[in-house]
């Protein structure tokens, strides 16, 4: 496949931005919690699931997306949100619990919702998959050619909602692309301990839909496979299931000692970091030179810094605002 250069560059740029975002969140998250880690403390409290290493999974869809396409992501949502173009300032502000955040501080990092781009995520494994099916129903009903993409981990592929969602989408021939981010672990549980077969893409057969495996963490391969699946859905030819073997470079959440993965595994994994691998490839292919990369990086860093700064400068919501937005009208009292 002949991929336009700007697409290749765009993917790299987005990967850099995602990685930088995750790195900065990590720094800030840990800064005021260590050495005696206290999950409730600091600028960013609570659980924090970061996606460093999984950038390829997210960026491959970018050039194929249209305004209005819906995405449902997981408890590890930043890479996908950034790739779809969710407002990074509001996202950072939400992660910081501020009134300017996507959810005015109510949701936090596992509950990022955006109207345009059309993004949502969730803290419950497998919860977003049926929602994507419903988004696709709405698109079909309204006669748009939008598609819905549902991201989920390989661990989620053993949750009942996976089965129900794929069956519904296939049965109703809906424009959904199911994207399994296979980072080989669900917290400490390796895929071999959770999944009866090697590749979830083979499960597509249970629904009569295409199942495609991307066997390595390569953004270009993801780009191609996503392109096909999204085009197929957009044309009205129904859903697909894609599984992408990827890597979670860090712990399941920040603070995770990650003792369940061997040093050997971790060393090998870090050696195949998709960000440096892809940079290498782009320079080798002459698409980018070192100066290009440096300036792309700078731009990305600046954008991330601006978002973080925005978050940090934003006010917290008033305590009583906790009572708002339970319903469209306020009905609750303390």
């Amino acid at each position: 496949m002949d991929i336009p250069t700007d697409h290749l560059v765009d993917m790299y740029q987005t990967m850099v931005k995602i990685r930088r975002f995750e790195e900065r969140i990590r720094e800030i998250y840990l800064a005021d919690k260590l050495p005696a880690f206290d999950i409730a403390a600091g600028l960013i409290p609570g659980e924090m699931h970061l996606a460093a290493g999984q950038e390829p999974v997210a960026v491959g869809m970018r050039p194929h997306l249209k305004v209005g396409d819906a995405i449902t992501a997981t408890h590890r949502p930043h890479h996908v949100a950034i790739a779809q173009g969710v407002d990074m300032k509001k996202m950072a502000a939400e992660i910081f619990g501020r009134d300017t955040g996507l959810g005015r501080g109510k949701g936090g990092h596992m509950h990022l919702f955006s109207v345009e781009p059309n993004f949502g995520c969730s803290g419950i494994i497998g919860e977003g998959m049926p929602v994507a099916v419903g988004a696709a129903m709405a698109f079909k009903n309204k006669g748009t050619d939008n598609v819905a993409l549902s991201f989920f981990g390989e661990g989620a592929a053993n949750q009942g909602s996976f089965h129900e969602s794929l069956n519904l989408a296939a049965l109703w021939n809906l424009p959904v692309v199911f994207v399994c981010e296979d980072n080989a672990y669900a917290i400490s549980v390796p895929k071999t301990v959770s999944t009866a077969i090697a590749d979830n893409s083979d499960r597509a057969a249970a629904y009569g839909i295409p199942g495609v495996l991307v066997a390595n963490n390569d953004p270009v391969a993801v780009y191609e496979v996503m392109g096909e699946a999204i085009a197929r859905a957009r044309k009205g030819d129904g859903p697909s299931l894609i599984e992408i073997k990827t890597d979670r470079l860090w712990g399941h959440f920040e603070g995770d000692a990650d003792a369940y993965r061997t040093d050997e595994f971790k060393t090998e994994m870090l050696a195949r970091d998709p960000l440096s691998a892809y940079a290498k490839r782009l320079t080798e292919e002459g698409i980018l030179n070192e100066a290009d990369i440096a300036s792309l990086q700078q731009a990305a860093y600046d954008e991330v810094e601006e978002a973080i700064q925005f978050a940090q400068d934003s006010p917290y919501p008033e305590p009583e605002a906790a009572l708002d937005h339970v319903f469209a009208e306020r009905t609750v009292t303390l």
Partner: protein
């Protein structure tokens, strides 16, 4: 019960189906999905006739995948539709509660008010016909306990239509529970009030307001669903004993009309709560606490609860009939209350 000038009579079941049809005619974005809601018209007839009028695109029979299709209702609602999803029996909530309480009910909040999730979740509740422990529960206490979804429970045809229209037009998730015993189905024992006057034009019954189903002065009986009729029947019997019972049809548990409860209890000085749901940690305790908080100094006697005890609903008729709140138990409890507190 709200009064109405219309004299056309419908059963509660037909009033529900008519309300849905009315809104589907008025609003293209309304559609229905669930198990056996198409050709069959809903096991309890709530979608009778809809398939014929609106076709299979808008009246969608689903697989037995409640997590899947209720979750899909959420996704459709976020994307501009107004889905009505039917959970055939409320007893089945356990296979799909995550989508209901953690997702449907919380997205508006998580999004800081930016996203609306106008889903109506309809579901049949209640026992009394020997359908045993997985098909006879009411469980409204369970739903009302968890924030972010309104919970309405009509007891008669007029309210059924008005609450359904209000639910469909509401921009929030609304759980609409219909008690099988108030539907007026041909194949169930029914009380005469299951058929009643229903205006042909669309109208809303406001969500969150109780209705005084019968006025009285000696005690307030607060309840919901089929037990409204049990209470009304009991009130008639009590009348003969010289006891004047006011019957409150709560109609909506979320929001709960606490003011309405308190006003009535302040007037009568006594509260009897009748609840077909399990006794403990549910509606009956909440209504008692509400009265205590708002009318403590007006109470002539401690509030009393007539409920289903904390047991799975038994199958065998003598067991079930004994366990459900009956007219007799209500009459006995009210009489004792009046005797003991003068």
């Amino acid at each position: 019960m709200t009064t109405t000038t219309s004299e056309r009579k419908l059963t509660t079941q037909k009033a529900i189906a008519e309300a849905i049809a009315t809104e589907m005619r008025a609003d293209e974005s309304v559609f229905v999905m669930g198990e056996d809601i198409g050709v069959y018209g809903g096991i309890f007839g709530a979608t009778e006739g809809l398939l014929d009028e609106f076709g299979a695109e808008r009246v969608i029979d689903t697989p037995i995948s409640e997590t899947g299709f209720i979750g899909a209702a959420i996704g459709a609602a976020i994307n501009g539709m107004r889905p009505i999803a039917e959970l055939m029996f409320v007893d089945f909530f356990g296979v799909c509660m995550d989508q209901i309480y953690n997702n449907m009910a919380k997205i508006h909040y998580f999004s800081g008010g930016n996203i609306e999730v106008p889903v109506v979740l309809t579901t049949a509740v209640g026992g009394g016909y020997s359908d045993a422990g997985q098909h006879s529960q009411t469980l409204w206490g369970t739903f009302a306990h968890m924030p972010g979804m309104k919970v309405v429970i009509p007891s008669n045809p007029y309210d059924a239509k008005g609450l359904m229209i209000a639910a469909i037009r509401d921009d929030n998730p609304v759980v609409y529970m219909f008690h099988k015993g108030v539907l007026g189905l041909g194949w169930m024992t029914n009380n005469p009030r299951a058929t009643g006057a229903v205006p042909e034009e669309p109208y809303e019954v406001p969500i969150g307001k109780l209705s005084v189903a019968r006025e009285g002065t000696d005690l307030s009986i607060a309840t919901v669903g089929l037990s409204v009729h049990r209470a009304l029947d009991a009130a008639e019997a009590l009348d003969e004993k010289g006891i004047s019972a006011e019957v409150l049809d709560l109609r909506s548990l979320v929001p709960l009309d606490r003011e309405g409860i308190v006003t009535s209890v302040q007037k009568t000085g006594r509260l009897l709560v009748v609840d077909e749901d399990y006794h403990s940690f549910g509606m009956s305790g909440e209504v008692v606490a509400t009265a205590i908080e708002g009318a403590f100094d007006y109470l002539d006697a401690p509030p009393v609860r007539v409920t289903t005890p904390d047991i799975p609903i038994p199958y065998s008729r003598p067991l079930e009939q004994w366990a459900l709140p009956s007219v007799d138990r209500i009459v006995a409890a009210a009489s004792t209350m009046l005797v003991e507190s003068g």
